[in-house]
């Protein structure tokens, strides 16, 4: 039961203009803040009205501006999960979940409520009020409430971002489980790249209201089609570039020539490499003759519990401007091994790790 979306909605900053189709299963939606992710979900749910477009879910047309079809939100059978749960504070958990089951008999409704609570591991909360349960439980109940109406698509708007780390990973496991049994189009909007990657096989990247990338997650992470997509998927290192031969490019911002593994067919505008794929040559001298290996100086560093980010200047020692060309991320163990070595170090940008992006 695929979900097909072709919509145009004028917003103050830009026009949301997206066209895509999502099959059964989760589709992660990534994008910078204000790229239109939430607006897209709201349009599909029927809470916002696109200026033009068509939304088809299975065999039901939810929106067709040309044929003047606009199914109201209440008849769309699309479940929406909000970042801040949006549980009704004046109704207990059972009544919250039962809200969408208004037409059922009391017995049938109670059976359904028990059933979804079991599926979301929130059994026993029926009589509690939202303010009496934790954020994680509230989001489970919100998920149960959305699933209770047996929606034909599920929209999740940053469902984990209000939770702390521990609850977050528990809720993520819950979503994983839900996606396994709920085989319908599920759009998951998130800011967290790793979360999107773990939860969905396919990704859609939005940039200023347009689809910047759509496809299997591995492909989008390995070969981002544009700088924007690379940035949204967490890439930190870019340089303007032009092709010199079939697999050699000149990287203008890094002032070097690089061999790349891809065969270049289209004009190249940028080259990029992910911070954790930057390698350091073990020997401290003579490395310069190896391919894609350059001397570098440390400008500054910043630590996280297990890794360290090194800000590097290529080819010349740092000056007072604090300028750097590359950000490398290494595990602390590795850092301990070479932190004492004299500068310059030798950084290696392996051809397999580099990706080129067209205009």
């Amino acid at each position: 039961m695929p979900l097909e979306v072709h919509i145009e909605k004028r917003l103050p900053e830009f026009t949301l203009d997206v066209s895509f189709s999502a099959g059964d299963g989760p589709l992660g939606i990534l994008g910078a803040s204000g790229a239109g992710k939430t607006m897209l979900l709201r349009c599909i749910a029927g809470l916002e009205h696109p200026n033009r477009g068509r939304i088809v879910l299975g065999d039901r047309t939810l929106l067709d501006t040309e044929r003047r079809v606009r199914v109201p939100a209440r008849n769309r059978r699309v479940g929406l999960l909000f970042q801040h749960y949006a549980l009704f504070p004046h109704r207990n958990v059972g009544e919250n979940i039962g809200f969408g089951l208004h037409d059922l008999t009391r017995g049938e409704r109670e059976r359904r409520v028990r059933d979804v609570l079991e599926r979301t591991h929130a059994t026993g909360l029926e009589r509690r009020f939202p303010r009496e349960i934790s954020g994680g439980e509230q989001q489970r109940v919100a998920l149960a409430r959305a699933l209770a109406i047996e929606p034909e698509a599920l929209l999740l708007d940053e469902p984990l971002s209000a939770l702390d780390t521990h609850l977050r990973s528990q809720m993520e496991a819950q979503l994983q489980e839900t996606f396994l049994e709920y085989r319908r189009p599920s759009l998951l909007v998130t800011h967290n790249i790793e979360e999107a990657y773990r939860l969905s096989d396919r990704l859609l990247v939005l940039s200023r209201g347009r689809v910047a990338a759509l496809g299997p997650r591995e492909e989008i992470f390995r070969r981002p089609p544009s700088v924007e997509v690379a940035r949204v998927t967490g890439c930190k290192n870019f340089s303007r570039a032009r092709a010199i031969s079939e697999n050699v490019i000149e990287a203008a911002d890094w002032s070097c020539q690089l061999r790349v593994a891809q065969t270049i067919t289209r004009p190249v505008a940028h080259v990029g490499i992910r911070a954790h794929l930057i390698d350091f040559a073990e020997s401290s001298s003579g490395g310069d003759t190896e391919e894609n290996t350059f001397p570098c100086w440390l400008v500054r560093s910043s630590e996280t519990p297990f890794r360290i980010t090194l800000y590097l200047r290529l080819n010349k020692p740092p000056d007072e401007s604090g300028r750097f060309e590359l950000q490398a991320e290494v595990f602390k163990e590795k850092w301990e091994r070479f932190r004492g070595r004299p500068l310059p170090w030798h950084v290696r940008l392996s051809p397999e790790s580099l990706f080129v992006m067209p205009e």
Binding site: A45, G46, L47, P72, A73, R74, N75, R76, R77, V78, G79, L80, F82, H84, A86, L87, F88, P89, H90, N92, F99, G100, H102, R127, R128, F129, P130, R131, E132, R145, A146, I149
Partner: protein, 230 residues
């Protein structure tokens, strides 16, 4: 401090009946107007806001005068009513109309503030769960806005109870029919019946004070403990 036995009790009953009826009308009209207003934006709505709030700032005599023009024998609504076989001016319904019009802005303002405070995502969640707009209003918006709506109701009631100027203009002073407590006070003073005037003043103060302090107590007693399992 009851009025002397010789005194007619009717102003109390007229006042209570008038205020209760006017408050019920105001409640429905105020909620409807506030709900309507909440869904709209634009220049026209600002004009509606202005019109809704006018009775709050105009002297009640002006309101009464306009109502008289509107509902009198030669007024547009008055003619229609006459054709239907009814006259409103100088009758009990006139006291209700005057009180309702004057109390309306208080209801409208508080109801709007209360409805605006309701998290719009809750209303949206209700819609995605299949609720009709009526259910969204009745089962989500209204219960959540209820403290504010109730406050507006009590304020409206107190205002209706104290209404004098517009009532006098539109309903006059007909003992036993349109003479409410404030009107009874005015005419008691005018005819030098100070005992009655003082007694009615005391009654009016007592009712209003009880209502307002009750409201204040109630809104504070209902803290964050609401909607928790007891």
């Amino acid at each position: 401090m009851a009025p002397p036995a010789a005194t007619d009790w009717s102003p109390l009953w007229i006042s209570l009946e008038t205020s209760i009826t006017a408050t019920l009308i105001t409640l429905v009209a105020g909620l409807a107007a506030a709900t309507w207003r909440e869904r709209r934006t634009g220049a026209a709505t600002a004009l509606v806001d202005g019109i809704c709030l006018l009775p709050l700032v105009l002297p009640p005599t002006v309101v009464g005068f306009f109502l008289l023009l509107l509902l009198g024998r030669n007024g547009p609504l008055g003619k229609l009513l006459l054709w239907l076989g009814a006259t409103v001016v100088f009758s009990w319904p006139a006291t209700v109309i005057a009180a309702a019009v004057v109390a309306f802005p208080l209801m409208y303002l508080t109801a709007r503030a209360a409805l605006e405070q309701v998290d719009s995502r809750l209303l949206e969640a209700a819609r995605t769960l299949g609720a009709t707009e009526w259910r969204v209003f009745r089962e989500v918006a209204l219960p959540l806005a209820w403290p504010g709506v109730l406050a507006g109701t009590i304020l409206s009631f107190a205002r209706a109870l104290g209404e004098f100027g517009a009532t006098l203009m539109l309903a006059g002073n007909i003992p036993g029919r349109t003479a409410t407590i404030p009107i009874a006070i005015y005419f008691a003073v005018e005819s030098d019946d100070m005992r009655s005037a003082v007694a009615w003043c005391a009654a009016d103060i007592a009712i209003s004070l009880a209502l307002l302090s009750g409201l204040y107590y109630w809104t504070h007693a209902q803290g964050p403990a609401r909607w928790a399992r007891r």
